[in-house]
């Protein structure tokens, strides 16, 4: 592990920002720290950078304990949420700042800054001031400035928060590609699950100062480890009385369940291939969602959400439909149980 956190505790007054946080990051990975605001993700990032000191626990970078090493000497690059570009310096001087501090030779600085300007696609903007740049360009300058002194670890605090939704998508893939090109171990903080899923190799989900789950985006999506992870990732509908859904039984200790729209399949009653595993419902509402239809369906007193292809059968509110639910995540106190539709399993076994 290149970066390691061991049992980190951090309090701000009565607010517990980190509560026994431990995780490791392998060299060369791009990690997303994902969580709602106030979950302590930014605090973790700032402690790794050396901008905050943990109350207890160890932080290791490259196998060395860095708790007592100042931010300047940890060899990390940091991209701030609002970029913190120096307003009175040109793009060139901003990027060169870290190198001039290190008293590098002028020729080297010029070469290095030019290289980064090319890498970040800022050619021709060297003499501009930060306020003469667009949001995306500012982010690139902040990125180049952090990379200039050749850090071993790059930390980014909500790198896309200050950018318009339109440009954000573009920048995500750009950032992912560029970090890949540079090959630097990177950790970024975000509250946006789409962003984390799209950009990160691995995601660390934080909540209330604790780490909930660590894994690849698909892994977390398919096998959420905690109720929080199950609810936070993907589109989730919480169902309390899930025992009334056909093929599922209420288990003791699991008070509710998460149902994702993609676990639900809707057909006309007469076309149902698995009549034993499905149940009847009524369409309550049909919403056009651009690439699909969103159906709200009442099934034994529970309102479900399902997606339906635009090319499939046409439904109107009031239509009777057959609903097949093939999976649920049952939520316990701290654990999640993935459950398949029991009747469907029996049926398939029977017929095959």
């Amino acid at each position: 592990m290149y970066v390691e956190l061991k049992d980190i505790d951090k309090r701000f007054g009565s607010f517990q920002a980190s509560d026994g946080v431990s995780f490791g990051v392998a060299k060369g990975k791009l990690i997303g720290l994902l969580g709602p605001s106030g979950s302590g993700k930014t605090t973790i990032l700032r402690m790794i950078a050396g901008l905050e000191a943990p109350d207890a626990g160890d932080i290791l970078i490259g196998g060395k304990r860095v708790n007592d090493i100042s931010a300047a000497k940890r060899g990390v690059g940091f991209v701030f949420q609002s970029y913190a570009l120096f307003r009175y310096m040109s793009v060139f001087d901003n990027i060169a700042f870290g190198l001039t501090v290190q008293k590098k030779e002028r020729a080297y600085i010029k070469e290095r800054v030019d290289e980064l300007i090319r890498l970040t696609g800022l050619s021709g903007l060297e003499a501009r001031r930060p306020h003469q740049l667009s949001g995306g360009q500012r982010q690139r300058v902040a990125f180049a400035r952090a990379l200039a002194p050749n850090p071993h670890l790059l930390l980014l605090d909500e790198p896309f928060a200050a950018i318009d939704a339109k440009v954000r998508k573009e920048l995500r893939s750009w950032l992912r590609e560029t970090i890949g090109k540079v090959g630097i171990t990177s950790i970024f903080v975000t509250h946006d699950q789409d962003e984390a899923v799209e950009v990160a190799d691995e995601i660390i989900i934080t909540n209330k100062g604790r780490v909930e789950q660590i894994g690849t985006p698909t892994d977390i999506y398919k096998n959420p480890a905690t109720p929080f992870a199950a609810e936070f990732i993907g589109e989730s509908l919480i169902i309390a009385d899930y025992g009334r859904l056909h093929g599922f039984e209420k288990l003791p200790g699991f008070g509710s369940a998460v149902l994702r729209p993609e676990f639900v399949r809707v057909v006309k009653p007469e076309q149902e291939p698995y009549p034993h595993a499905s149940q009847r419902g009524t369409v309550a509402e049909v919403l056009f969602r651009g690439n699909s239809l969103e159906l709200s369906i009442d099934v034994s007193g529970i309102r479900l959400i399902a997606y339906h292809s635009l090319d499939g059968d046409v439904f109107q509110p009031g239509d009777a439909v057959s609903v097949l639910i093939h999976r649920l995540f049952l939520l316990g106190a701290r654990e999640v149980k993935k459950t398949e539709n029991a009747s469907l399993q029996n049926n398939t076994a029977f017929f095959i």
Partner: protein, 287 residues
């Protein structure tokens, strides 16, 4: 109908909040009565005064000497104030120490203390028998009744302007700038001079201008310590006062006009300068 339509247009522009006519009426008439008409009357007095006479009065050797004393002392005082103003604003925004709130409150003292009281207190303190003056007297330095004394009184009167200009800028300055510089390896000193100083420069300039303008015009706290020695410690407001006491109104008004014009130039200059500095960085703090 047409008339109605015409009347509606301006009222729509002003919105539905009532009281425009009343407020403008009261504002303009009070402003005219108290400020504009009296100020304009200055020119009425000068109408019997030829340009030649006017020039003779304002370029008289003794008068010119007062400009030199006023400007020189005010400039020195404002410069000293910028130095200590930056220091005080920094200390008050960045450090925690016992008595900080009291120190913060005291900055405002020169605004609250009647200038005449400050004047006699400073004069007595810095005279050759005063607590401070006697110390300097032993080293052969006189303060009261010299330009040094005038400068000290002007420092007293100007310090709040500088501190209060810089303090809000420092308070609002995002800690991320300093953190960014620190992560990139910059020392505290380098961070201050390269990153923070440019940020507070426009505010420091404004503070300098306000302190400078106030010091030039200041009377109460300076008049006692100045001593009114022609050519040496006579300040411009004092020579106006002397001319008034001699009932030489045209002369007093002429010099007053020079002062009015000059203070406008200073304030305008500061305005232009800080607008330019702001433009380089692109608008307000944080932008």
């Amino acid at each position: 109908m047409r008339v109605l339509g015409l009347r509606k247009a301006p009222s729509r522009r002003k919105g539905v909040i009532p009281g425009f006519g009343l407020c403008m009426g009261v504002t303009l008439s009070m402003l005219s009565l108290v400020v504009l008409i009296p100020l304009a009357s200055v020119f009425l007095i000068l109408k019997d005064f030829s340009l030649h006479e006017f020039w003779n009065v304002i370029s008289d050797r003794q008068t010119v000497a007062t400009y030199r004393v006023s400007l020189g002392c005010a400039f020195t005082a404002a410069a000293v104030n910028v130095l200590f103003g930056v220091l005080l604003a920094w200390v008050l925004t960045r450090y925690k120490f016992p008595g900080k709130r009291i120190l913060d409150g005291l900055i405002e003292l020169p605004f609250a203390l009647p200038t005449a009281v400050a004047g006699i207190a400073l004069t007595t303190l810095y005279s050759n028998k005063g607590w401070v003056g006697s110390l300097f007297e032993r080293m052969g330095v006189k303060i009261s009744y010299t330009t040094v004394g005038i400068t000290i009184a002007m420092i007293f009167i100007g310090i709040p302007f500088v501190v209060r200009s810089i303090q809000p800028v420092l308070e609002k300055l995002d800690a991320q700038y300093e953190e960014a510089a620190a992560i990139l390896g910059a020392s505290r000193a380098r961070t201050f001079f390269k990153v923070i100083l440019p940020e507070i420069l426009p505010a420091a300039l404004t503070g300098f201008g306000l302190a400078f303008a106030r010091s030039i015009g200041e009377y109460g706290s300076v008049v006692f310590i100045a001593g009114n020695i022609p050519y040496r410690t006579q300040i411009t407001p004092l020579i106006i006062m002397n001319k008034l006491e001699q009932f030489n109104y045209p002369a007093a008004t002429s010099i007053a006009l020079v002062m009015i014009v000059f203070s406008f130039i200073v304030l305008f200059g500061i305005h232009v300068l800080s607008a330019r500095v702001n433009k380089i960085a692109g608008g307000g703090a944080g932008g």
